[in-house]
């Protein structure tokens, strides 16, 4: 059980790196954005993981129940903000992809590169 | 007007003149040139009225602004700078007369730009001459480089621009790459950059570092054209002749040797250099340049290029003299700044006259030109004799003092160099004189021509006269520069 205490962290690293790989290695712009989403989600996982307390519960205080342990609310607040930031970035990125598709006819990075250097 | 304000006025007057020239330039060329003359005369008056104070031992100074702690823009008048400023302001007038004839006679483009930048360059020269510390000197040194670049590139065609690029490139590269680090090093070592009689470096830097610092300074001041950073000078020959005169006689190269002399006297201190063995190389480098440049000059066929190499040799005379570190040699160095200025400006003016009147640039083409242009060639002859150092010309006086300095220092190699270079000078100047005066003109009558435009002839006559007069009336300069020696001892 002890060693599983770090499993969350390993999972976050794994997801982070999968996303990171997609962002830097893939040529398709939408795939890059998908990778970016995964990449950011991994960070959410990191924060939420560190806020968890054994035997704790969500930090919403129940009336009439005493000696409850609560998990840390602060990382959750941060991640709420980060999720919003993530989806905002995503929306902007997709809008740009649409425009790229219109003016270049492709959403593959290497082809765009070729088109740019031909002209 | 206090002396401090006079310094500022000396800086500002050419600038105001430049603005004035720019404003009236489009409307009327006559008005433009009138403004030029008024400005030049005003500058002359301002500078020369400072002279009496200097003779009386005053050292007016003014601080404008403090850039960094202990580092300010500061001006101070001292004999060496005073002499340089007086010389430049005098020659500007002559040069303006000459330019008038040259630019019109040659129907040059962009004349307004020419006069504007000329004025700016003069302002920079004033800044260099009156700089109270190395930083101020450096600032105006760079302004001078930048403002003369368009003058050199005046013609604007590809070849000219390429040559101007060499000019600019070498001067900027040496100043930023070597001069600036040397300045910063000095500042870090001593905490000041002020020009102090007796130098500031003693006790702060020692051993081989002194030699290295001197290397940085001497080659950093590319304008002094010590080999191997002399290449810009022949390259700049593409410039119109008045600009060449500006470069060689009035401003640029003089600013170079002036800077080096000033660094030797006020930054290192003559005594400090004399006891520091790692700095001896400077004398030998100068000697090498004198000989090498003279030999190269021998092989030139283009008149202006020959004059350029002659300048390189003469500049190293000055550096060599300064590096001798004896009182007489220092005086000789400063005298030679003046003497060479008069002589070389005469030579260039004459070359320009020949070009305007006949479009001839090669030495071989000059056959019989003495008969067509007697005034010009007479002046040329005087200039050439001054370069060789024959009495009764200016060059004789300065060479005399340098020789004296060499004897004071018991430096036989310098004496030998002086003799050798005199022979070499004669070897490349005398043939020209011979061709010009005695060889028959073989050109067709279609190329028939007489003297150059009046203004040019007047100018060249004036400078030739100055060259001769300096032989007799050098006492004021001597008096002034003796103060210099007084403080170095």
């Amino acid at each position: 059980m002890e060693i599983l205490g770090l499993y969350n962290y390993w999972a976050y690293v794994a997801v982070l790196m999968i996303g990171f790989y997609a962002v830097i290695a893939k040529s398709n712009l939408i795939k890059k954005l998908i990778g970016l989403s995964i990449f950011q989600s991994a960070v959410f996982l990191l924060y939420i993981t560190m806020g968890k307390v054994d035997g704790g519960t969500a930090p919403i205080i129940q009336a009439g129940v005493s000696d409850q342990i609560f998990s840390n609310p602060l990382p959750q607040v941060l991640i709420l903000t980060a999720i919003v930031v993530g989806v905002s970035t995503l929306a902007l990125g997709l809008a740009i992809v649409v425009r790229i598709k219109e003016s270049y006819g492709t959403i593959e990075e290497d082809q765009i590169h070729l088109l740019d250097h031909k002209s | 007007m206090t002396s401090g304000m006079q310094i500022i006025a000396a800086l500002l007057v050419p600038l105001i003149g430049a603005i004035g020239i720019a404003l009236v330039g489009r409307k009327s060329p006559n008005l433009r040139e009138a403004v030029t003359f008024i400005t030049a005369i005003a500058l002359l008056v301002i500078v020369w009225t400072m002279l009496p104070g200097l003779f009386a031992g005053e050292r007016p100074e003014i601080t404008l602004t403090e850039l960094l702690p202990g580092l300010s823009i500061k001006f101070q008048v001292e004999p060496l700078g005073m002499m340089f400023a007086a010389l430049a302001s005098l020659l500007w007038i002559v040069n303006s007369i000459y330019s008038l004839g040259y630019m019109r006679g040659n129907k040059e483009q962009h004349q307004t730009r020419f006069y504007v930048l000329f004025a700016v360059a003069l302002s920079a020269v004033m800044g260099i001459a009156f700089a109270g510390n190395l930083l101020t000197l450096f600032i105006f040194y760079e302004i001078l480089t930048l403002s003369t670049y368009p003058l050199v590139a005046h013609k604007g065609d590809g070849k000219t621009v390429a040559s101007a690029r060499v000019y600019m490139g070498i001067l900027l590269a040496t100043s930023i790459g070597l001069f600036l680090p040397a300045i910063i090093w000095t500042y870090m070592a001593t905490g000041t950059l002020d020009f102090v009689p007796g130098g500031i470096l003693e006790g702060h830097v020692a051993g081989p570092a002194v030699g290295l610092l001197l290397v940085l300074f001497v080659f950093g001041v590319g304008k002094a054209a010590l080999m191997p950073v002399h290449r810009w000078l022949p390259a700049a020959m593409v410039a119109p002749t008045p600009v060449s005169a500006l470069l060689h006689a009035v401003a640029v190269v003089k600013a170079g040797v002036f800077t080096i002399t000033k660094i030797i006297i006020y930054i290192f201190g003559v005594d400090f250099l004399a006891v520091e063995p790692s700095t001896d190389w400077l004398l030998y480098a100068a000697i090498f340049t004198v000989i090498a440049a003279s030999i190269v000059a021998l092989r030139q066929t283009n008149l202006k290029r020959l004059l350029a190499y002659s300048t390189i040799a003469q500049l190293s005379y000055i550096i060599m003299a300064a590096a001798l570190l004896t009182p007489m040699a220092e005086i000789g160095a400063s005298l030679h700044i003046v003497a060479h200025a008069f002589g070389k400006i005469t030579l260039f003016f004459a070359a320009g006259c020949i070009y305007v009147a006949s479009k001839k640039t090669e030495i071989a083409q000059l056959a019989g030109i003495g008969r067509r242009m007697p005034w010009t060639m007479a002046a040329f002859t005087i200039g050439a004799l001054s370069m060789i150092g024959v009495p009764p010309t200016a060059g004789f006086v300065s060479k005399w003092y340098i020789l004296g300095g060499a004897f004071q220092a018991d430096s036989y190699i310098v004496i030998a160099t002086l003799v050798l270079s005199t022979v070499l000078n004669a070897a490349y100047f005398l043939p020209i004189l011979y061709i010009a005066w005695f060889r028959n003109d073989e050109t067709t009558p279609a190329n028939n021509h007489g003297e150059a435009p009046k203004a040019m002839v007047i100018a060249v006559t004036i400078t030739a006269a100055l060259t001769l007069l300096f032989m007799a009336f050098n006492q004021p300069v001597l008096d002034l520069e003796s103060q210099l020696v007084g403080i170095t001892r």
Binding site: V23, I96, V97, E109 | G169, G177
Partner: protein, 496 residues
């Protein structure tokens, strides 16, 4: 409660809250007028804050009256004051004088959103600068980044889109790296407040996560600041953005990231991690030097004016970093004052380019032959900016180069190599800048040159304003010098 106490909050809130209103503006020029007025207000606030900081020292402000570390703290120091001045002044000047340029590059019905985004960039950047909370920096970093993607995407060329996409990807990676770093520090200290972090880090036993956090924060911010070799997003973004946007960003955008970077390195890590100074220096000095030399080298062969200057910006980031990586008072002062001086130089250059672009169709070097004859004022300002960039004395650039070289020389033998690098790159700068000057002044005039006129008067005025500022601060650098001295001192912990 006087209004002066609220200035740190107002600095951010004023541009931020007016931005949404600008979206609603429909009338001709109304959006511009509103944005400009707001930006000016921000500038005035920045000036008053600077005064306060100079008089009384650092100012702190508790958002929502919740004291740090429970609430979010705003903190204005001498360093932030300098940055505030740069950012707000850059925005105000570009907005005030750049209307014609923006009008020529952007359809009118899209302008309200553009100006709103502009104000959001401004709000975001000042938000980062005044923030005293690690996560708050992230939030405002994202506000400014998202808004800057919009501004760059406003570029008329279709190539603007792929370049802004690249910027978006790399910017987000940078921000996320930063977030990971902050997360790890938070994990080990339990606080997000920068000042509190500094204290609590001293008690941390397990140091490895902190080292990793330092790495991630450094890399993330370096990405945002376009530190070599993480600069690849910058050249195209600057090239294809509208000219005024380029002028604005070149003056301040990367510097804000550098500001955060320096704050983390010196305030949070240096005093708590053993040998962090050493790691930091050995890691960054080579990067800075290679960046300076390579970027200058690329600029030598670049023929598009804006891209050329963009590469030069990367080199200049290297200068700032080089100064900072000395980790000495003089080095930091040099780096910080270079932020200011480089903003002046690049501002003037890009402003002049915007002036050029109102007349010429292409900013490639081969199309600019003889342009100075038709546009003498523009090119004269360009030359001044360029001289400042090269570091010719009498201009602002000289001051920073001087300080940088003297700081580097303190390092002994290594310093001499660094000086050589700095000088070589200065010469390279002189060369690439001189290429432009030569072409503009002596090149053959292109065919359409008969129709060229001088740029609009109003824009010229702006250009000259910045150009003369280069000279003014070259001759009288006491204000930026004072601020950067204090900033360096506070970063090294010599000031309370």
């Amino acid at each position: 409660m006087s209004i002066y106490q609220h200035l740190p909050a107002l600095q951010v809130v004023v541009p931020m809250l007016i931005a949404p209103l600008v979206v609603l503006m429909r009338g001709r020029g109304l959006a511009w007028a509103m944005a400009t007025a707001t930006s000016m207000m921000a500038f005035i606030i920045a000036v008053s804050l600077t005064n306060i900081v100079l008089e009384t020292g650092a100012v702190s402000y508790a958002m929502g009256s919740w004291q740090a570390p429970y609430g979010i703290e705003l903190r204005v120091t001498a360093f932030s004051a300098l940055l505030l001045l740069i950012v707000t002044a850059a925005s105000t000047i570009t907005l005030l004088f750049g209307k014609q340029s923006i009008d020529s590059q952007l359809e009118e019905h899209r302008q309200p959103m553009f100006y709103a985004a502009w104000l959001l960039v401004l709000a975001g950047l000042v938000g980062i600068v005044v923030a005293g909370d690690a996560f708050n920096i992230f939030v405002f970093m994202e506000v400014s980044s998202l808004a800057s993607y919009i501004l760059i995407a406003a570029g008329p060329n279709r190539k603007a889109m792929p370049s802004v996409f690249k910027y978006l990807i790399m910017g987000t990676i940078g921000a996320t790296f930063y977030l990971i770093g902050v997360g790890l520090i938070y994990m080990m200290t339990g606080t997000l407040n920068l000042a509190d972090m500094e204290v609590r880090l001293q008690e941390v036993q397990d140091i490895k996560p902190i080292i990793v956090a330092a790495g991630f924060i450094t890399v993330g911010l370096a990405l945002k600041a376009a530190v070599f070799p993480l600069h690849v997003w910058l050249p195209n973004s600057y090239t294809y953005a509208p000219h005024m946007v380029t002028a604005f960003f070149a003056a301040c955008a990367t510097k804000v990231s550098l500001f955060v970077l320096l704050r983390f390195e010196f305030l949070v890590f240096h005093q708590n991690l053993v040998e962090h100074v050493g790691h930091f220096s050995t890691f960054l000095i080579p990067l800075a030097v290679i960046g300076i030399l390579l970027a200058s080298g690329v600029a030598l062969f670049e023929s598009h004016l804006k891209r050329l200057l963009a590469y030069s910006s990367i080199a200049q980031v290297g200068y700032i970093l080089l100064g900072a990586s000395m980790a000495t008072a003089s080095g930091l002062t040099a780096g910080i004052i270079h932020m200011f001086n480089h903003a002046l130089a690049k501002g003037a250059l890009f402003f002049a380019i915007a002036c050029l672009a109102t007349q010429v169709s292409s900013l490639r070097l081969e199309n600019l032959g003889g342009v100075a004859r038709k546009m003498p004022w523009t090119m004269a300002a360009f030359v001044i900016g360029g001289l400042s960039l090269v570091g010719i004395p009498g201009t602002a650039g000289f001051i920073s180069k001087w300080l940088l070289i003297s700081a580097v020389l303190e390092k002994g033998t290594l310093g001499i190599f660094l000086v050589v690098a700095v000088l070589v790159s200065s010469l390279m700068a002189a060369v690439y800048f001189w290429r432009i000057v030569e072409v503009a002044y002596f090149g053959d005039a292109p065919k359409q040159s008969a129709e060229l006129h001088e740029a609009p008067k109003w824009m010229l005025l702006g250009t000259w304003f910045v150009a003369l500022a280069n000279i003014y601060y070259g001759l009288n650098p006491s204000l930026p010098l004072l601020l950067s001295n204090q900033a360096a001192a506070s970063l090294l912990g010599q000031l309370p």
